[in-house]
């Protein structure tokens, strides 16, 4: 059992099983939509977790990439009649390029300074999206044309459930592959000791840049997926609060845990839906639960529970 859990593919397989199993349990389109939102957030969170949890580099600006991805599938088809799928790829490419260009100077910074630099970068993107109305529709957002595949219009909550679920499983699979590869070892090494990693021959700046680019692409694809599901985009997807939400999902679920990314995303997406019954007390309870979870399970939900299980059942 433990060997099974420790297997490289444990997380993507578990995620795939959950996606398939839930499809038979969820009673309505609303639940399917919420699940699809969880898959999308989890995808972005896995990318951010590669950066934060594995390589140990903070980003408080990832919603910027998420927003760029979202607006890519809104703007490119509208302005250049690009197919939405190509727009998604173009968005990912652009995000990767931007991450590549800004990553080099930004990633020289460490700790809280890196946090504030990525924060500033994310805010610049969010401001550009909110203010350049001629392109983005401004603060009120803009519609996204429906995705058509081989003449078939993709629509309906269950279709999107499966598409986003598949994207998530793919994202999780790529992530665990990366973590278990020489590149992944280099990333985890520079997290624990940059100087030791450098002595071992790891070009730290290069690897930080690689993982920053990868995580930007994850965020971009997730943003594109959300835009296509919603059929509408607003600058909310790019703003600072969303960046903080993504980071919170990473930490809640567990830094350095791919499965934890799904758990963290699920909590922050589903909890507000559950808490609606408490009306005015919604935010109070959300904040309280965040604090309690982090105090009790301080390494994040999945790693902390895993450690607990290991200790009780040797």
């Amino acid at each position: 059992m433990r060997a099974l859990l420790a297997h490289r593919l444990a997380a993507p397989v578990a995620i795939a099983l959950i996606v398939v199993a839930l499809a038979f349990v969820l009673p309505s389109n609303f639940y399917l939509r919420v699940a699809a939102l969880v898959w999308i957030s989890a995808l972005a969170v896995i990318g951010l977790n590669l950066l934060m949890g594995f390589a140990g580099q903070v980003s408080l600006g990832h919603a910027g990439f998420f927003g760029l991805g979202a607006y890519a599938v809104a703007v490119l088809p509208a302005q250049f009649s690009l197919h939405p799928l190509l727009a998604l790829l173009a968005g990912a490419l652009v995000c990767g390029l931007i991450a590549f260009v800004v990553g080099r100077p930004i990633l020289r910074l460490k700790g809280h300074y890196l946090a504030v630099a990525t924060l500033g970068f994310g805010i610049l993107i969010a401001m550009a999206i909110a203010n350049e109305s001629w392109l983005t529709g401004g603060p009120d957002g803009m519609p996204v044309s429906r995705l058509t595949l081989f003449g078939w219009r993709v629509r309906g909550a269950s279709t999107w459930y499966w598409i986003t679920g598949a994207l998530l499983v793919l994202g999780a699979w790529l992530a665990v592959n990366l973590v278990a590869s020489p590149t992944g070892r280099a990333l985890r090494a520079l997290h624990d000791s940059e100087v030791a990693a450098r002595v071992a021959g790891v070009d730290v700046a290069h690897y930080k840049l690689i993982v920053f680019v990868i995580s930007a692409v994850y965020a971009s694809v997730a943003g594109s997926a959300l835009a296509l599901v919603n059929g509408f985009v607003t600058p909310d997807s790019a703003n600072f609060i969303h960046s903080i939400e993504l980071v919170t999902m990473v930490v809640l679920g567990g830094m350095g845990s791919v499965f934890g990314s799904l758990v963290g995303a699920a909590i922050l997406v589903v909890l507000p839906q559950v808490l609606t019954t408490f009306h005015d007390y919604e935010h109070l309870l959300l904040g309280l639960m965040m604090m309690v979870i982090m105090i009790v399970l301080r390494s994040g939900i999945v790693p902390s529970l895993a450690a607990l299980i290991r200790r009780t059942r040797p």
Binding site: M52, L109, Y113, V116
Partner: protein
């Protein structure tokens, strides 16, 4: 020239509030390595509590100390109930706890107070004073003067009192401080109370100018954090310079370049400064000890 003066007055007034928030960040960070994102909530609690106590008929000069006291109690509770139990957790975990705390306090404020914007009457009237062609509200003097007094008191406290020196010692080396008999847990708790008080005073001083509501905290935390980093995290002087610099950048940016992108201008300058000085204005460049 009068325009320039007007921009500077605007920038310094707003910047003084950023500086006080940044100072709160710095005090807590030095004592405990915690970046307290609930710092902005103290500003909100100071302003909103004063508004609601005065609305209940209590005169301003009683309401203000009561509001500061309320913020200090909440600062203490935050430390005792959320930070202390998580002692030893990683920095990121502690940051998420403070973010949770800020959501919690905001959620509480919307129930205890309301969701409306509020104002306080200006302490010395609303008639602007003309200085070199710039119209300056008397309340701006209160904000700037208040900030200056706080800084002076803090200097005195840290350099001339035993408790202040204990806080400094804890900041320099927690283990060593504990070994010489300093109750570091008390010092950390005290730093939360002190930061809460500073935040609350900032919130009260500025409420007559910028208005206040239950959700002003997040933005102030963001700006205050950026200001603290610009100055150099952990350096009180850096916090003040950083805060005033961010305020001035926004005002001058809005006045001379683009009001739409004034926040962007501030952040571009912060990024540029950090690329040249990776530890901010006054941050020490760290050498790796291996």
């Amino acid at each position: 020239m009068p325009d320039f003066l007007q921009f500077c007055v605007s920038g310094l007034t707003v910047g003084a509030v950023y500086a006080l928030v940044a100072l709160g960040f710095t005090i807590i960070y030095n004592a405990s390595d915690v970046v307290n994102f609930a710092q902005g909530e103290f500003v909100m609690i100071g302003g909103m509590t004063t508004v609601f106590i005065t609305a209940a008929g209590v005169p301003l000069h009683f309401a203000i100390p009561a509001a500061i006291l309320a913020a200090m109690v909440i600062g203490l509770l935050l430390h005792r109930l959320a930070i202390e139990p998580a002692r030893g957790a990683s920095a990121v975990t502690l940051i998420i706890i403070t973010i949770g705390a800020s959501i919690f306090l905001r959620g509480g404020a919307q129930i205890v107070f309301d969701k409306q914007f509020h104002s306080l009457p200006a302490f010395s009237g609303d008639t602007p004073v003309m200085i070199g062609g710039a119209a300056v509200l008397p309340q701006s003097f209160w904000v700037l003067g208040g900030a200056a007094v706080i800084v002076a008191l803090l200097w005195f406290f840290f350099n001339r009192t035993l408790l202040g020196k204990a806080v400094l010692a804890t900041a320099a080396n927690r283990l060593a401080a504990r070994l010489v008999g300093i109750n570091t847990s008390f010092v950390v708790g005290f730093s939360f109370v002190l930061s809460a008080a500073i935040g609350a005073i900032a919130g009260i001083l500025v409420a007559p100018i910028t208005l206040t509501s239950y959700d002003i905290g997040a933005l102030l935390a963001l700006k205050g954090f950026a200001a603290a980093m610009l100055g150099g995290m952990g350096n009180p002087l850096g916090a003040i310079v950083g805060g005033l610099a961010v305020g001035l950048l926004e005002a001058l940016g809005a006045g001379y370049i683009s009001s739409t992108y004034k926040d962007a201008i501030a952040f571009i300058v912060i990024l540029a400064v950090l690329f040249v000085l990776p530890g901010g204005f006054f941050g020490r460049a760290s050498t790796e000890r291996v």
